[in-house]
Symmetry: D2
């Protein structure tokens, strides 16, 4: 089988290099280009010595259209609003696209503009599919352009889908308390993500409904519930770990449920999913058991005293929350087995 | 002024040594004894070299009555159910007592027995006061026996008191998501608190209303609200940091409130409190800003989209959540200025 | 190709589970058994949830001879002196053996007994080969029993081999300053390896020529230098990281050398080695670039002011320093390509 | 007693704020100004919320001469070469000065210029004393201008002084392997000190005699040995901890020495020093036992097999290695008891 040619546009950040690492080890992919304006001319391994031995690639600043000319799949690991700027050109190339920015995740451009700023490519929105395979695989299969989900939304949507789909919880009682590792903040140097500022610390940020992943979470939940709109409370926190998101999600049960039944429901829902592991009853997810893997670990509990469902879900923000899911989507739209190149378990400790 | 003589019963754990550190630096205290069965005969500084230069104390296993004979104040840093066993003897000694276990925190012995096991000293319960000075200072002043609060309850009760006292929130909507540093689990070796198990990890534990601090939280909240009973959801998590608790607390507002008003309410409520710092609006607590100090940092936010109040409170679990609060209580019952020996700011980074 | 059957004796520790992780992903291996006395009957994934999805294996306590009856290769991840006790039986089985303990690393039983205690299987020593493939591949190929090297010795021997082999350094001036992650201390709970004792700390241990890896280092260096005996100073330190060893090695140069020449010498020496990466001049190893991989990263520098060579080498103590090297050895003695199952790059950050 | 007025020039970095923390708690000091160009107008507590409650100071950008007009003591926590630029003005003010930069540490301007660049205030060099009180207290007492030592040199000079002064070691065999916490790199955002780059990593830097603290170390050692010149090998490493330096120092003994004698020698040498703790034989320094304190912990061992002395010394780089030592020096030149404001023990864990 001839290898599919892939390029990463914006490969110098943590997500970009993670895409590179996974693609370099992918048996059916040839990674042909990595771009970076700032580091043009430097070997990828100069920035990321961990990749030495796996590649000789040099950062280029090739134009998107040139890349589209020679690659079969284009991964965009660019900041939001930067991605849309080159999408017009790429969309005409006929190549497959996986966009890891937020630019094409929200179906409603007005919502996008309220949270992110101007959207200049509204007409392209309809050509993208929201790439959360476990929930929307059918739609993904028939598209060529993927809007790869955000990290927090991935953990929340996978965590709530079974209960929400079955109508077991009251949608207006959903509270999401999430904690993310520092790599989620990127590699751009800033005081807030210095080692000394983060180690031995822990804090919430963007409290009170201010985080940009909220509309994406709400859009997804509403689709899962089959309703017009769901409004949630979402509080992100910064954890002193490199990778991982753990979301603790609360919702009132419509009626009493046993933990056992709920657990069975979740097990059933995800029984054919290669990347979702519903923890045995009595066992709980830990970021360290998913970091480095494409898994999402989920546990359910019932707080009988208050009638609430508590769901805990954990992912690696850079893999299932970004680069791994991007490749999972690529596998689907390229007709490869969905798990190809993504089967590594977490390395512990 | 003659120095008050203090002894620590059960001084080999993290809380015990933290009491020792603070008492050794306290200008009006002479620490005359530290006990430990396991380490009898060893210098305190052998276990805790950080204290070298400050003390020559040797762990003894003196009997409680002997200690009561020579000390003015007794601190008990023992596991629950061990504390009550020696309390009968101590209570007759006429000495002041600060108990850091859970044994005398719950006014209702039946509740204690549901969560902890048998209580053999029920008749002593009434002689203890729940030692959270910011909320119950009046009662503390007139007592000699302190039941020193748990770490999670301290962070929660200080966080909710202003809003709950004013009737601003619906008591049945309270959800508490708390994260604690590893020192809260003590110094007894166990796989779960090994460096390799904790570093780069994050997990919830005792999910679904199973943590023993729940009845203590609910007892305190009910008192603050002036109602019979409040039931909450409480989920603790284990953070990869040495010290600190951060609680993110959610509750539905009875009616719309502005963040500014709420902030003023909190500022007012705590304006004379030396150990509570209400963060400036727009600023949020971080464990690293309270670790090493007796401060509780609190921030309030309103999630307008959902009508919820979000309170975030942070303390050092070993200081404001244990040893520091114990000394604060001792200062009160011994007639010393409440802040004596407790004024250190956090060391950052 | 039929898969080779492997069993791990003593699989509940960090090294044992790392062997399991690597073997489960190895394309030519079928892992048929993992043993543990303490955890008999529990699934491997109960202790190590990171492996969920990859295996259903249950810890057994099958006798060594039974395992030898059905496996083609036996990995022993047991404490020293425990390993030798079962070696008599295993040695007669005709199966291939990779022993990760220290029991068969030292050719001279008297040296072993000076550092470790009694050796009851001296007659088997000659059947084992010291399994450091980059240096002794020829001998390994023709043997069936591997004494898998210690973690510190691996980092030191690979670091010094090129310079020592060429006679460039004075053997009596070698000083080795090594730092290891906490997983090197195993998973047995003890105060010293608790999170709170290690995080934010750093210390040396067994200072003054007291660490048991010294005779193994000296045996290896003497072989490389072709001399009777070499005596070194070796100081291990405990790093607050999960994995990794970094050794900074000092030795006086016999005569002046340029950094460029030395660098070329090292590049040449390791040019065909798939698992040794000599860093570009000006670049230095970091534990985080090798952790999770089977690589050893090496840099050389010359301190012109003092005429000393400084070599820095980094490995993952659980992989190149234990489980990975064990599999590398197994590949060799089983006739598989040496890199099979070991090609993953480090996951960063 | 009237309080001495102090100002900190360049107070926004980690060292500056640590000076502020210590001075704010110092019983005889009034901190009257903190300067920062970048943060002018912001409260000190906005950058460092840990200090909330202790101060209302606002960063100003007052001119040095204005500050000299109202303060009694001036602390300069500026980068090297910036400090010298304002020293001309300050030196004429008649006020006491503690300079924490490298600008006045090296007696020989030519050496300074070889390692740091131009020195424009050579004529002031003679008015400064190298402020390492344990070794040069006599000279410090009679001066008004302090060149506060570097962090690495402090750990090395205190570690070697007793042995070197007695002529027990061969000066040309000294090898220093040091590891520093990340705060030593300052608070300026850069990729290398981001959390994700440092956590779970460990590396050497400036290997091969390239670190600027080398001439300072060598100048100090030569003075201690009473010789013209000493040349050492010095390798710094970056540790994933916030604070602390641990130096492991090797040197060949001139003649055989017992550990016991050496230990006694060290104990004797430092017996009246309040801030040096020679560890009991068999016990070794740990960064976590000195972090947060002004202590230097030292252990000695003899490697009998190689005839080498091994000294291990640990300090907090921001306290004994910077701000604490600066205040210790200030206490001396202001006639205060040397330990004032510096008696806190390390907070552990």
């Amino acid at each position: 089988m001839e290898r599919i040619k892939a390029a990463i546009i914006g490969a110098s950040g943590y997500t970009g290099q993670e895409l590179a690492r996974l693609l370099l080890a992918h048996p059916h992919i040839e990674l042909i280009a990595v771009t970076s304006r700032r580091y043009e001319g430097l070997p990828l391994t100069r920035l990321y010595p961990a990749l030495a031995g796996a590649t000789e690639l040099i950062f280029s600043k090739e134009a998107p259209e040139a890349l589209a000319g020679k690659a079969d799949v284009l991964f965009l690991a660019l900041p939001h609003q930067v991605s849309q700027n080159i999408m017009g050109v790429l969309a005409e190339s006929g190549k497959k696209i996986v966009d890891l920015s937020a630019d094409f995740r929200l179906a409603d451009a007005a919502v996008y503009e309220r949270w992110y700023g101007e959207h200049t490519q509204k007409e392209l929105l309809g050509r993208f599919v929201y790439g959360l395979p476990e929930l929307f695989r059918g739609e993904i299969r028939v598209k060529s352009f993927i809007a790869n989900p955000g990290c927090y939304p991935t953990s929340v949507l996978l965590g709530l889908a079974p209960a929400l789909g079955k109508g077991l919880i009251k949608a207006d009682t959903i509270i999401i308390d999430s904690c993310s590792g520092v790599s989620g903040a990127g590699r751009e140097p800033q005081v807030d993500t210095l080692f000394c500022e983060v180690a031995q610390g822990f804090k919430a940020y963007k409290v009170g409904g201010r985080h940009r992943h909220i509309p994406e979470i709400e859009q997804g939940l509403a689709r899962l519930a089959g309703v017009e709109e769901i409004t949630v409370s979402f509080t992100p926190h910064l954890l002193p770990v490199n990778r991982g998101i753990l979301s603790t999600i609360y919702a009132s049960l419509v009626e009493e449920q046993g933990e056992q039944e709920l657990h069975s429901l979740y097990r059933d829902f995800y029984k054919d999913e290669p990347f979702v592991r519903v923890c045995p009853l009595g066992s709980l997810p830990n970021i360290s058991a998913v970091a480095g893997s494409n898994y999402c670990d989920i546990a359910v509990a019932v707080d009988k005293r208050t009638g609430r469902l508590i769901v805990i879900s954990a992912i690696d923000n850079l893999i299932k929350g970004a680069a791994g899911q991007a490749i999972q989507n690529m596998n689907i739209i390229c007709g490869l087995p969905e798990t190809t190149g993504l089967q590594a378990n977490s390395i512990f400790p």
